[in-house]
């Protein structure tokens, strides 16, 4: 709880710093506030504290995911350096809105009551609607904002209808009490579960409710897309698992079939469409859909190992995404484009950037010796334990398609010639974030035991 308060207060302080034109203090204050929030979470590890009549419960699951969200946000903030200043003059608002979004994310991973789930999702989403449309005169950004807004509030409506039906069936918003009274009025309850399932898959961008994702990711400013594909997605999946893992465990039969179909569709659509993209940003957007498909496998088979599998996958995926989006921002700033051809010859002009991108893409593709391999390994382990071998066959096949399109970028970087041989100059913080992400990726790829037994 103190972490949510610290993040919200930091956001307000940053807003005031912007009012008094102290631009140089924005980044240090935000990062310090986030470090404070993370420290306050570490202090309550293993304590299982609940707040407001069990509305929020900070168990280890919530703490681990909150720290992941905070760490990802710090990395994105460090990358933002002067990126936001180039888009608009109101830099303080970017930090503020992203911090508010993060506080919503922390509520989402620690809720124990449907009302907190709703509030958390809304704090996160409403902030992201603003961030998607932050380039006011850019038509792509406008389009992204309106699409995200309409689709997001549509999903919220469906979520609320589901919550209302479940309240009608059980008379409670508390997850534990809902689980206890699940069989009282099965018809209302099952209808509610299906509505909530649709809404949550909408929010995390799983097929067939994925159609807004590529447009929004492509239209939004790149660093905002990286925030969406890491923090928003991780928070969404953590909330999804927390909801289904504690409230709806007694009735898996009604959603298993639906979810299996969704997993297969997501893996097929995400990977195969990504393979045809020429724009790297859009390709990463489709690849983030396919990653949602892999993470959904762990939710499909709610077992003891699911939280851990989702955590490992989110860590690997977030870190690799931050690195790849970071490289893309640097390339776009110099070449003015994020098409595949902009990456031509990067291996010769900027060996470090090319190496960072290579490791990040290998991790996203799930190649051994990177964190992404163990992410997929543990997710597949969950599925094999539940006898879903055929699903694993499809998932592995699609992972191979994934490697194909990730390697298109790597081939462009190392084997194609570029017309422009200037190297890209990066600030110190930028280099630090990229190198840090790569080191974590390789470290977890060699010694996954560091995080496999946290939950």
């Amino acid at each position: 709880m103190s972490s949510i308060i610290i993040i919200a207060i930091t956001a307000i302080v940053v807003l005031y710093l912007g009012l008094y034109k102290v631009k140089s203090a924005l980044l240090p204050v935000s990062v310090l506030g986030l470090l404070g929030a993370a420290a306050s979470l570490v202090c309550v590890w293993d304590k299982n504290i609940s707040y407001f009549n069990d509305m929020l419960v900070f168990n280890n699951y919530a703490i681990a995911f909150s720290i992941l969200l905070i760490a990802t946000t710090i990395l994105i903030f460090l990358l933002s350096g002067n990126y936001f200043e180039k888009i608009s003059s109101n830099v303080a608002e970017y930090y503020t809105i992203l911090l508010f979004a993060l506080s919503g994310g922390v509520v989402m991973v620690s809720f124990q009551n449907m009302s907190m789930l709703f509030i958390g999702i809304e704090i996160l989403s409403v902030s992201m609607y603003i961030m998607a449309g932050i380039k006011k005169t850019d038509s792509a950004s406008n389009e992204a904002a309106l699409k995200y807004f309409l689709m997001g509030s549509f999903a919220t409506g469906i979520l609320l209808f589901g919550i209302a039906l479940i309240y009608g069936a059980t008379g409670s918003f508390n997850l534990v009490q809902i689980a206890g009274k699940a069989s009282e009025q099965p018809l209302l309850f099952y209808a509610g579960v299906i509505f909530m399932l649709i809404a949550m898959t909408f929010k995390v961008g799983v097929a067939p409710f994925h159609f807004w994702t590529p447009d929004v990711y492509q239209g939004a400013p790149t660093l905002v897309s990286s925030f969406m594909s890491t923090v928003v997605k991780t928070a969404g999946f953590a909330a999804f698992l927390r909801l289904f893992g504690s409230a709806f465990t007694s009735v898996p039969a009604i959603w298993t079939v639906t979810l299996v179909v969704m997993v297969v569709l997501t893996l097929l659509i995400g990977n195969i469409t990504a393979a045809f993209q020429q724009n790297v940003k859009r390709m990463l957007a489709y690849s983030s859909i396919s990653h949602a498909g892999y993470m959904l496998i762990a939710i499909l088979l709610l077992g003891q190992a699911s939280p851990n599998a989702i955590l490992i996958y989110s860590v690997a995926y977030s870190i690799a995404s931050v690195a790849s989006f970071g490289v893309m921002v640097a390339v776009k700033e110099q070449k003015g484009s994020d098409d595949l051809s902009a990456f031509n010859g990067l291996g010769r002009t900027n060996p470090v950037l090319a190496f960072v991108m290579t490791v990040a893409l290998c991790s996203l593709g799930g190649i051994p010796l990177t964190a992404g391999f163990f992410g997929k390994f543990y997710i597949f382990g969950v599925a094999i334990a539940a006898n879903y071998t055929w699903l694993i066959a499809i998932a592995v096949l699609m992972a191979a398609v994934g490697i194909y399109y990730y390697f298109k970028v790597i081939i462009a970087m190392y084997l194609r010639e570029s017309e422009n041989s200037e190297s890209i100059q990066l600030s110190l913080a930028y280099k630090f974030v990229l190198i840090f992400c790569i080191m974590i990726t390789i470290l977890l790829g060699i010694a996954p035991a560091l995080i496999t037994n946290i939950l």
Binding site: F118, E143, A145, L150, F154, F161, A164, Q277
Partner: protein
């Protein structure tokens, strides 16, 4: 308050569920078929109000205030969402002189 809850319970619960579901699906159909951003937005509000009605009815039938408190949450959050949403629609109108969502097709392969 007592009178109101009694008045609500005069109508059978199933009627409330049916009415809310109908309003909710009118909202969904509106979102899917209308092309004007404001009308799509109104349809979404219709969906939220159907939920409010349903929560109030359940709350009155169960004699539990939590459902009505949740309605307040929904109203407050929906108001925040309206503020942001209308700002986005105004922004689009200033750039395009139109709020037809069919114009929004520039982000394609």
């Amino acid at each position: 308050m007592e009178n109101i809850t009694n008045a609500i319970t005069l109508v059978p619960l199933n009627h409330y569920i049916l009415l809310s579901s109908i309003i909710f699906f009118i909202g969904i159909i509106g979102v899917l078929t209308r092309r004007n951003a404001i009308i799509v937005f109104m349809s979404i509000e219709l969906m939220l109000n159907a939920v409010n009605l349903l929560l109030t009815a359940f709350s009155a039938y169960r004699g539990d205030a939590a459902g009505q408190v949740f309605v307040f949450f929904i109203m407050a959050v929906a108001a925040a969402e309206v503020a942001v949403g209308l700002a986005i629609i105004v922004m689009i109108y200033r750039n395009n002189n139109s709020i037809d969502i069919d114009l929004l097709n520039k982000l394609k392969n």
